[in-house]
Amino acid sequence: MKKLVQLNVNGDTHELAVNPDETLLGVLRNHLDLIGPKRGCDSGGCGCCTVHVDGKAVYSCMMYAVSAQDKNVVTIEGLGQNNDQGNGNGRELDPLQQAFIDAGAVQCGYCTCGVIMAAKELLDTVKNPDEDEIRHAIAGNLCRCTGYQKIVDAIKLAAAAV
């Protein structure tokens, strides 16, 4: 039996009929075509699906979509400013997104959106975090390509920029 749920995602409101056991990740990807959150494990172990719910970084694979009713969900697609000047260059990136490019923190990129969302919560709540705070903030996000060093560099770079 499907349930109606009203989701606020990246500032837009969607009314959707979902199965009660459908995860927020499944709904974001399959109903709303938001591909930033990614399925890496479906068991809260990798962090590729990290999004913000009311400003907190959560694993969207570990939350039922119906539990997100009336909450504000932000995915990587909701970061940055819409700055379209008709030249096709699209959105102005969030300082974290730009820092990940500048520091070379992206390799295969599959974990990247989740790591950025985890780091975003840190930078939203802690001013000038030190290296240990940065590493602990992203300890729930696995990356197999980078060894995390350039990810940490990128978060430091973004912290200095904001």
Binding site: R39, R91, T112, T146
Partner: protein
């Protein structure tokens, strides 16, 4: 001429898409009418299927196709992408589905339905009657008389048994002052690519298949799928994904999913998608556990007189990569690494009822390096020799004949400099003896070497080693580069564009990789594996760029009324050498070549010539001229808590002769990521299975532990030594694999330096250290 783009940390062209969502992954592919499939897997490690009843599943609304072993082709194959299926070195023992189950988790049926949920429900309705068979999980037990036989063709379950011998081993041991023996064991670990294995296969009803998949080799998938289905290769069109979510060797073979999706697609007449769960991924591929028996003869001054090793590799239920990993392990991990006249190695790749092993960065070398480099330190400790001098004394020298590729030499080979500069940076000479620290935190320094490695597969007779590229210039002064070479995340989109831009004299941002390529539109390429892409595909890109450049300079020569040989291209312009004032934009040259015979410019209409006409384009398909060896040494500093047994890697220094750095930031990223995988291998990662059922016990990331940002050292320093390899693009040779090979023995050696404890089996867990310290009873 100075280089303008090579050697610079230009940003990755694919980074913006990846930080804003990431459109280019195969996991995002959706086709109209697409179905979702799931596989039913055997709960038994060894069994015969007596009966499968799928009637109830077929009746379930939404189910569109069901597949059982009886519906599958029974032509045996090997899964490995980098060889043709009929290669002599390979063992053809695989089936899409078989009546015999050889490991717990082997697919025995599959269902395609309108949703994943319906497909999962349908699996529960399938009845399978099994006859359980005796099973064996230990490879040495599997080799004993009377052990359960897994395959008719393999007596004593030995899939392959390579032996390589040089000189006279007995004479070598007779000449030794000391003989050392040791047994070293490594465990089964997973590559842990983050994007699951996923595919969408669309059978068009006319006998053609379009395939999307997260894999490391377009043409390998085409050849394997065509072989399995028994159809001509051109009937299979494999689409190149712009990128995939990691591979590391774990996507270097056709899975069950592609043929199963293809067969279901035919039956349902609709596209079929299969996405593996993480549990399924964990039992799909792994680095093989290898037990190495080492015996080494040495003079009192520390020179090898004889080296012998026997390696037992657990290949699991099928040979696949196990038939080749064993050879690379023996040759590049053991036999060829150091000078020694008298050497012998025997390898056994053994069938067991375990999951099937696969490719993983290093490809057999990490297992050997752990044994060899641990034992060298044991020898040095016993004989009071300097470990750096020992390696130096036994090392190959620049100019030596290449120990593997006949007729070639180690023309560029800076192993010595790797040792010197790495040791200096970490302060190796200042290390203190074990247990110098007063408290329970003991500090130690260790290192290990991968003295010899490959840049691709030239010299391996069965293995593909050629690449191709197409470069097409546009009228706005940009260029499109098409290639089948895959970027698994390690940065080839960037480095190949850098090579093309440098060769054509274009700015970096003017060159882009085309997002639309498939097996019908681009030349053949060998897989992204064997540390080969920068060197081999880089050479192919350079060759294509040079073809395009020749035509570009010819047109420019007509326009500038100069000899093409007197022109040079740089920063988007073509200039007469020595006369910087006489120049023209590359965009204007391309526009001229693409214009009608009367070209309208700002100066009005003007005639052009027939010789100028035609797209400025370059094509190449070529094998590289060599297989130059990189050299590498990794140093680590660790702390060991002798109360808890916990090991922390505090600092790492890695020195590597890679010929020439194309992109320093990208190269560092390779090393840092390699250390993450290797620290996991050394200290914590271990795929474990129930000893009665064979079921995987570490099927998610809560049970399978890999290093997070917290466990990683705060500092990983890369030292890149540029020996300028003449056969490489701009002097480059390879990087990717040795940085994952050396850390485990370096860590074991550092733990010994800290505590005096020598652990010879991975992973080095706190329990093993406490047992060795006498603080926990041994089992």
């Amino acid at each position: 001429m100075t280089l303008s783009i090579i050697g610079k940390s230009v940003p990755r062209p694919d980074a913006r898409d990846k930080v804003t969502g990431g459109k280019g992954y195969p996991v995002n592919v959706r086709l109209p009418g697409m179905l979702h499939a799931k596989m039913l897997r055997s709960p038994y490690p060894h069994a015969r299927i007596l009966r499968i009843d799928t009637r109830a599943a077929e009746q379930l609304p939404g189910v569109k196709a069901v597949l059982t072993p009886a519906d599958c082709p029974q032509r045996k194959y090997t899964t490995v992408y980098f060889v043709p299926t009929d290669a002599a070195s390979m063992v053809r023992d695989m089936l899409v589905m078989s009546d015999t189950v050889r490991y717990a988790g082997q697919p025995v049926a599959a269902v395609a339905a309108t949703s994943i949920e319906i497909a999962e429900q349908a699996l529960e309705l399938i009845e399978v009657e099994y006859e359980e068979l005796p099973f064996v999980f230990d490879p040495e037990e599997a080799m004993q008389p009377g052990a359960p036989q897994l395959h008719e063709h393999a007596e004593h379950n030995i899939a392959v048994n390579p032996v390589m011998e040089f000189g006279d081993l007995e004479a070598g041991f007779a000449a030794a002052d000391h003989v050392f023996e040791g047994v070293y064991e490594t465990q089964r670990v997973h590559t842990c690519y983050m994007e699951p294995r996923v595919c969408v296969v669309d059978a068009d009803g006319n006998g053609n298949f379009v395939v999307h998949s997260s894999m490391q080799h377009l043409f390998g998938l085409r050849e394997k799928l065509a072989y399995v289905l028994g159809i001509p290769e051109s009937r299979v069109r494999v689409i190149k994904p712009p990128y995939i979510g990691g591979g590391f060797g774990g996507k270097l073979d056709i899975g069950y999913i592609e043929p199963i999706a293809a067969l279901l697609s035919v039956r349902a007449n609709r596209p079929v998608r299969i996405e593996q769960t993480r549990y399924e991924d964990f039992i799909s591929t792994a680095r093989h556990p290898i037990k190495v028996y080492l015996k080494t003869g040495i003079t009192k001054d520390g020179v090898f007189t004889a080296r012998y090793a026997k390696s037992i590799l657990d290949t699991g239920a099928h040979a696949t990569h196990g038939a080749e990993v064993i050879n690379v392990h023996g040759a590049f991990g053991f036999l060829l690494t150091y000078r020694c006249e008298h050497r012998k190695w025997e390898g056994y790749s053994v069938y067991t009822n375990n999951m099937v092993g696969g490719g993983y960065r290093g490809y057999g070398s990490p297992q050997a390096c752990f044994a060899v480099e641990s034992q060298i330190d044991e020898i040095c400790d016993e004989l009071n020799l300097d470990p750096i001098e020992f390696r130096r004394k036994n090392a190959h020298q620049p100019g030596d004949p290449h120990p593997f590729v006949q007729g070639m030499h180690l023309d560029t080979y800076a192993f010595d400099e790797c040792l010197t500069r790495g040791a200096e940076r970490i302060g190796y000479a200042q290390r203190t003896p074990a247990n110098t620290d007063a408290g329970h935190i003991k500090r130690g320094v260790g290192f290990a070497c991968q003295p010899l490695w490959v840049s691709g597969c030239l010299g391996f007779p069965d293995i593909y080693e050629h690449s191709g590229a197409i470069i097409k210039l546009n009228v706005d002064g940009t260029a499109d580069l098409s290639t089948a070479a895959m970027d698994l995340g390690s940065g080839q989109i960037t480095t190949l564009c850098q090579i093309a831009a440098e060769a054509l004299g274009l700015p970096m941002e003017a060159v882009r990789i085309t997002e639309t390529a498939d097996t019908t539109t681009v030349p053949f390429d060998a897989p992204s594996h064997a540390s080969r892409v920068t060197y081999s595909a880089g050479n192919a890109v350079l060759a294509a760029a040079n073809v395009a450049k020749e035509r570009m300079l010819k047109v420019a020569g007509i326009m500038l009324e100069a000899d093409a040989g007197d022109l040079e291209a740089r920063d988007g312009r073509i200039t007469v050498k020595g006369s910087p004032d006489i120049s023209i934009a590359i965009a204007d040259v391309v526009r001229r070549a693409e214009s009608p015979f009367i070209q309208v410019t700002e100066d009005g209409p003007g005639p052009t010539t027939v010789e100028e006409k035609g797209t400025i384009i370059g094509l190449s398909s070529t094998a590289p001229a060599g297989n130059p060896s990189p050299a590498s040494v990794g140093f680590v500093e660790v702390t060991v808590d002798t109360e808890t047994g916990e090991v922390r890697v505090e600092r790492a220094v890695y020195a590597h002769d890679l010929g020439k750095v194309i992109n320093p930031n990208g190269a560092e990223g390779q090393v840092e990521g390699g250390f993450q995988q290797a620290i996991g291998y050394a200290l914590m990662e271990n795929l474990q299975f129930d000893e009665n059922s064979g079921a995987c016990l570490t099927g998610d990331f809560l049970d399978y532990k890999m290093p997070t940002a917290v466990e990683m050292p705060r500092s990983i320093e890369s030292i890149f030594i540029e020996s300028n390899e003449p056969t490489g693009p701009y002097g480059a040779k390879s990087l990717s694999e040795p940085c994952i090979t050396v850390p485990a023995p370096a860590i074991a050696n550092a733990i010994f330096n800290a505590t005096g404890v020598r652990i010879r089996d991975l992973p080095i867990t706190p329990e093993k250290i406490l047992v060795a310290l006498g603080k926990l009873p041994s089992e």
